[in-house]
Symmetry: C2
Subunit: 423 residues, 2 copies
């Protein structure tokens, strides 16, 4: 086999894993109990690993808020000083089988949803969505309201969801994603239908639990109002899936795209857990009233795991409203999505778009194709304020240098494989 | 003003009513308590009024089943004999401010949802959807399972929904319809998203009620599984809206389309409550496995009130899956919907379709345009088995003679108006 044939065969193998993955939500547990290697003084963040002094402002605020929430520091300033001094540790979510939206801040006591990809033995984790407020720790905001909400999630919602999913015997995530694509969701910026379907699945079990009835009603209202709730489960499903695809020798498919507001990093199957990074881009989009580009952090969050698995902007034809965020219409939504065909190797058999006569979404980003076509993946995303809070939505693209470096890295790894003794 | 100008002005007035209607779900009460003129021995049915001996088989079975359910007869045969003898009365739902899906069978003890169109003082009623089973009284099926389910609806679900909506202070239906159109619903054959959004609105109040907790869980599961639940509220909203449009002198807009499996009847605003009828058509569609056209009743149900208000097939571009039922695809869904532009006088300002860049759905069927263009309205519908039960889905069209007769009727009514003393 030529190297090209080896790469193509490896990509076929990785796609098989992608298409046969069955990510299933199994439990909700405190991060400290389940994240491999989690520590009491460790705060995880989105994107590739980054040193404290280079970290984006919103992400710093998120880390510091989480440290205060955990009781590791008295206040934000002290938390920042302690993190700068290395007394509070930081590391990337992805290094702990975890993904995080926007700042991605995940701390030891936070309940995380456990998603297992049973056929391949991978497990991924993500914290619980904080709800409809624009001011959330996830967006780098921390105040009394944020803290009280996080406490309720830790003490009531997380345990209630955990008990419910255990009573359900687990919940498969793929079928809800597939169904929501026929209901206007692209599953990243717009997961409204998926969240509604999810809520209706889980509520009967919460009603049947021994949770105080007033709290059950509060959970029901929270799930109704949190249109992005299911997005987090989608991210964990993506992570459990792409981790299963990771480490296939010669494979040139992207297994992670993650941003920390300063750098954009990608991982490629054939090069395992190595990050290839470049500068994070500004986001092209619309701002909520009163905000503009001068307030915005650059591209941020592990949520591009959705695009990595054929969702988000790769499914934009399902959600015309996403194209509106960048001044487009229905035809643009299709055009954005279908432009991804040139840099992917397949269409997802289960993620089908009604407006395209149930054609599957483009999936399997091949770094060779990105470099050859000069077409960059598109990512649906939200915009965080530098001082914290959600201020808009739009689209972003990774820097080309990630893909150029990754191709060089894959080439080196492939040569190493080729130099191994045969048989 | 010429007669043409008078008609156009009347149509504009009727459209204003249509667009300013605010149908709001207010209560759930036994039919006997709230339907004006309802009687203990009266069973209502869908479509224009029809004599017992001409009634379609499935509708007869529905009426007889309802009579047994009400304790008016010992068994189906006795119920049929008593109805033939006039001891059990039948009449059309529409004559009692009510609409009914398929057979439309509505009997005195059934809980009905009360929908008020406050600006115009109209109120409409509809029974509660029986759930996901294909065997329902609504489809002319009656057996022990159907009876037990109807009893649960009468004794538990209906009162629970009534208490919930009273606690909510009523629920506006239009906003849920508008939102569901962006989530793959055309609101007639596919009301999935609307039903999910509805369930999430109402469940917190049911959780907070004093209903037994196990029953609350049963209600939650029923609402999750009953993807057509919200369709009934949509129908009542349509009825409360079109009744407000009714009786505008000279107005040539359709205010009702209803079928009883034998005849298709329409009402026109300028001719008030008069029915113009013709033969009900066979349905073009797909059958569930094991069934075919030889098993099917002809077009049936008051549900075409949805198309009358710019939904269903008039919003088919929102639901590509509806076009698939008749062998089409995404382009056909748009084509079906947009072909209705030629026979309507407006686009609905609130019912917007993402795939058409949020253009409104065609609405306001003008009988003049139907006759002039020879284009008949399209109706998304389900198929009932002659012996009862749901066996497929498809599309239907009314017979042209309804519109020809209606135009003659409107002409006579207009001449009468014109001959009134001026001023």
């Amino acid at each position: 086999m030529s190297l090209k044939e080896k790469i193509n065969a490896a990509n076929t193998r990785a796609l098989e894993i992608l298409f046969h993955s069955t990510p299933r939500w199994l439990d909700v547990r405190p991060a400290i109990e389940v994240l491999p290697g989690m520590k009491e003084n460790l705060i995880l963040h989105a994107g590739p690993p980054i040193e404290w002094n280079r970290m984006a402002s919103a992400q710093k605020n998120g880390v510091a808020g989480a440290a205060v929430f955990e009781g590791l520091a008295e206040n934000i300033d002290q938390a920042k000083a302690m993190t700068a001094a290395g007394e509070i540790l930081i590391d990337a979510c992805h290094e702990y089988n975890t993904v995080g939206s926007m700042t991605g801040v995940t701390s030891p006591s936070m309940p995380v949803m456990v998603v297992e990809n049973e056929p391949y033995g991978t497990t991924a984790y993500i914290n619980v969505h904080e709800g409809p407020s624009r001011n959330r720790l996830t967006y780098g905001a921390y105040n009394t309201a944020v803290r009280k909400n996080l406490e309720w999630i830790r003490d009531v919602l997380g345990p209630a969801l955990g008990a419910a999913v255990r009573a359900m015997g687990g919940m498969h995530i793929g079928p809800i994603i597939a169904r929501s694509l026929t209901m206007g969701d692209e599953c990243h910026n717009r997961p409204t239908a998926g969240s509604a379907l999810f809520a209706l699945e889980v509520l009967p079990y919460i009603i049947e639990s021994n949770l105080d009835r007033a709290e059950v009603a509060r959970v029901a209202r929270f799930l109704k109002e949190t249109e992005h709730f299911f997005f987090h489960l989608g991210m964990a499903a993506g992570k459990a899936t792409t981790d299963a695809m990771s480490g296939v020798p010669y494979c040139s498919l992207v297994t992670a795209m993650a941003r920390n507001g300063v750098e954009f990093g990608i991982r490629v199957s054939g090069t395992g857990n190595r990050w290839f990074v470049g500068p994070a881009a500004e986001i092209e989009g619309v701002y909520f009233s009163g905000y503009g580009p001068e307030d915005a952090e650059a591209d941020m969050g592990d949520s591009a795991i959705m695009e990595t698995t054929g969702l988000g902007a790769f499914a934009m034809a399902a959600s015309v409203s996403m194209a509106y965020a960048v001044g487009g219409g229905a035809a643009d939504a299709m055009r954005y999505q279908e432009s991804m065909v040139d840099i992917t190797v397949a269409r997802h058999p289960a993620y089908q778009i009604p407006a395209l006569d149930y054609r599957g979404t483009p999936v399997g980003i091949d770094i060779r194709k990105v470099v050859q076509t000069n077409i960059l993946p598109i990512i649906d995303t939200a915009i965080a304020h530098k001082n914290g809070g959600e201020i808009g939505v739009g689209i972003a693209r990774p820097p080309m240098e990630c893909f150029v470096q990754a191709l060089e890295g894959l080439s080196v790894a492939a040569q190493k494989e080729l130099s191994q003794p045969a048989g």
